[in-house]
Symmetry: C2
Subunit: 206 residues, 2 copies
């Protein structure tokens, strides 16, 4: 079905153009005419793929999560436990040109998700999916003796919240760097490694 593939590919190309414009000049300064020009379409041709700016913004937001999830799947492969967890984190953290661009799009569009239930559910589903993956990798890490007997839901929640925070600081805090991001994730995982091994709960003074 070459026509359907073409349609999907063209939508992706338009989303790419939207990402570039939103990142370069901000969401408020991006209108349909600019989007059409950046994507190489007339206004009329663009409307064949998206009904308007709002639909392009929704698709741009969804694509941040889809692209990240696809990279996570490729990067993790058959790995499990801590190596898998670290690879998941690295695809979400804004360390590279690609992930920094995704962070700019996420920060640009979270405010719209506040008043757009569809975008809010896209965001919530992505966070839930990644958190569930992290819980699974943490359980494997515990079973394999890589970490102690931790509350894996709480650890996954802290890792996810940290990575959400990094989307903001990665693009807005001049102090942020790939090294500081890695150091934070290591600090969290060091806590999990230092926890009591499963079955040896002789906690004192707590």
């Amino acid at each position: 079905m070459p026509r359907l593939v073409d349609h999907a590919e063209r939508r992706l190309a338009i989303i790419g153009a939207a990402w570039r414009l939103i990142a370069a000049r901000g969401i408020d300064s991006t209108n349909m005419r600019d989007l059409a020009r950046e994507a190489g379409y007339t206004n009329g041709a663009l409307s064949h793929y998206f009904s308007g700016k709002n639909e392009i913004l929704r698709a741009s937001f969804e694509h941040v999560f889809d692209a990240t999830s696809a990279r996570i799947e490729r990067s993790v492969g058959a790995r499990r436990g801590l190596p898998a967890l670290r690879r998941l984190c690295r695809e979400v953290m804004p360390e590279t040109e690609e992930t920094l661009l995704e962070a700019r799009i996420a920060v640009s569009l979270w405010q719209r998700a506040l008043n757009d239930p569809y975008m809010a559910s896209v965001n919530a589903q992505a966070l839930d999916t990644w958190r569930a993956q992290m819980v699974e990798y943490l359980r494997q890490a515990r079973d394999d003796g890589e970490i102690g007997d931790v509350d894996e839901v709480l650890y996954a929640n802290l890792l996810m919240t940290t990575m959400v925070g990094l989307q903001v600081t990665g693009v807005l805090d001049p102090q942020s760097s790939a090294a500081s991001q890695e150091a934070m994730i290591n600090l969290i995982l060091d806590g999990a490694k230092a926890a009591f091994p499963p079955g040896r709960h002789t906690k004192v003074n707590r």
Copy 2:
């Protein structure tokens, strides 16, 4: 100088109206006419206090940080170490109606800070100030024996990043709750408590 005080107070009241509108319907759906009506001014009278929407948004953003810093100062008082640190965190975390409203404003305006150097510097200065306070409280906690010999800059960075992440998840993640927020901060501080005491560095297997 009653006139100057009046002017500052009226600006604050207009910022309060702007917060309510931004939180209720989003930044894109908030225009000067609505702002004037919500604040109880005519368009012309409003322009006596703010030159336009952009200046109101900048002042609204700054006020998030000013209001939070004022609350931190009041709440911390003469405390030091971990009790001071916990009080700082609690004023930043979106746990109450007031701090949840501030989180909505922060999330709404971070995207504008991406393309507004003034707003970006307001944000960076606030994060720097709070991080420096946290570093100081962590040093006191170490000196007082409340925590071990930790990298206080790294811990402050992780706490700050977590609190930035909580601004987003607090208003966008249905899973977020005051209890889950507290649990994450406790998890980080438990790591600091479990670290080696100052002067006793006999790390094995690391």
